[in-house]
């Protein structure tokens, strides 16, 4: 799909989230993550293309889709004067499959007070409340925009674990945007990189991590490396680090060079600089 703004375009982006998968949607702030998510939820209109959620058209079948998905935003979209109990009443009216027992279990697990006003909740508590709501109506697809950003590592870990439990039956899927790749490095099955409104890379996380590598060599030797093997090159005063997209092939071709494994962060970093090729 394509979505044009003044000065920014989501440029014919395309990706799939297979059933049962956790898809990590990775990109810098301003890369287009939130616009993509807003588009697929039909909060904003797209200019061209097609979006299908659970096999249904995102505009024509919007009402049907929204009953079967859950959305978590980085900011709590509920009014400050409500408490956790009020939320249950509101959600019960919205979702046919709302399950109050499940909701109560999550509230207890997250140690959230039932009668305290949301306005007095900490950031972590607000996020937990949103997640408790999202997981309590048997949603088949969770869409999360920076849901774990701004939370402390202990809470993040707890929440990631709960997401994995939620996917246990293999029938549910998660699309999760984040610029914190360490969370996704652990639990994501697939990743999609977005930068300046374009998809750089999408596929299985393990394959992406295993295929890429950082080749270390002297600056003078860069010329010997085929352009087609290179994503981009990071130069420093004492040498060069080259992101290669086929680590196995590169280790065979450039035998005397060290090739380190690359993390998702590394991969994003080098792809973001792919147009300048050499950077520092």
């Amino acid at each position: 799909m394509t979505k044009r703004y003044d000065g920014f375009t989501l440029d014919s982006i395309s990706f799939d989230v297979p059933k049962g998968c956790i898809m990590g949607f990775i990109g810098q702030n301003g890369a287009g993550k939130t616009t993509t998510i807003r588009s697929l939820l039909h909060i904003t209109d797209i200019d061209s293309g097609e979006i299908r959620l659970l096999g249904l058209d995102h505009i024509k079948d919007e009402t049907a889709i929204k009953k079967r998905i859950a959305v978590v935003f980085d900011e709590l979209p509920f009014h400050d004067v409500f408490n956790a109990k009020d939320m249950a009443r509101i959600f019960e009216g919205m979702y046919p499959e709302w399950d109050n027992t499940v909701y109560q279990q999550y509230l207890e697990r997250f140690q959230l007070p039932k009668k305290k006003k949301i306005g007095q909740f900490s950031k972590g508590m607000k996020m937990k409340l949103q997640i408790a709501c999202a997981l309590s109506h048997n949603a088949e697809l969770l869409v999360m925009d920076e849901a774990t950003t701004g939370l402390d590592p202990v809470v993040r870990d707890e929440i990631l674990h709960i997401f994995m439990e939620y996917l246990q039956n293999g029938e549910r899927s998660i699309l999760m945007s984040s610029h914190i790749t360490s969370d996704l490095e652990k639990i994501a099955d697939m990743v999609t990189f977005i930068d300046k409104g374009k998809i750089l890379l999408t596929g299985y996380k393990d394959e992406i991590i295993e295929s890429h590598g950082i080749l270390k060599c002297d600056k003078e030797r860069i010329a010997e490396i085929d352009a087609e093997d290179i994503v981009s090159i990071r130069l420093n005063n004492f040498g060069a680090e080259v992101m290669v997209q086929d680590r196995e092939n590169a280790s065979y071709k450039y035998r005397d060079c060290v090739i380190d494994p690359a993390s998702l962060d590394d991969i994003m970093l080098y792809y973001v600089h792919r147009d300048v090729k050499e950077w520092s």
Partner: protein, 135 residues
């Protein structure tokens, strides 16, 4: 059943899992017919992608260590212990032939070769170094 994953080893996580389960089977700690944890549970427990555990199990299945049935789970397969041992013995044999050839060409005695094997096995690097300096 214990599985320990290293993020620093550079070995792909699915291989680490597959190899550790292989070892457990070969050591008899996982017995024939025994059910393995589901791929989803293993992933959740280890906090890794489901795709990673799926790949590990596929690897184990391809190598004949386990059998998976949709909806029922994965089970440790029979018979292959003997087969695996045989294959490994054959492999070791060919490696030893190479070692013994190299030793003969270099004039290293069988006695020294035996000593070397004991040392390698014991992992005593100092003794290996001493043997090297003797040569």
């Amino acid at each position: 059943m214990n599985i320990n994953i290293s993020n620093a080893s550079g070995e792909p996580i699915y291989l680490q899992i597959a190899n550790q389960i292989k070892t457990l089977i070969l050591e008899g700690k996982l017995k024939e017919g025994e059910m393995l944890p589901s791929m989803r549970i293993l992933a959740t427990e280890l906090r890794i992608s489901f795709m990673t555990t799926k790949r590990a199990y596929e690897e184990l299945e391809r190598d004949g260590f386990i059998e998976s049935y949709t909806g029922r789970g994965s089970f440790v397969k029979a018979q292959n212990l003997e087969l695996y041992r045989e294959e490994q013995i054959k492999r070791i044999e060919s490696l030893l032939i190479e070692a013994s050839d190299t030793a003969q060409k270099a004039g290293i005695t069988m006695q020294e070769l035996h000593e070397l094997l004991d040392l390698v096995n014991g992992g005593d690097q100092h003794l290996i170094m001493r043997l090297r300096s003797r040569a």
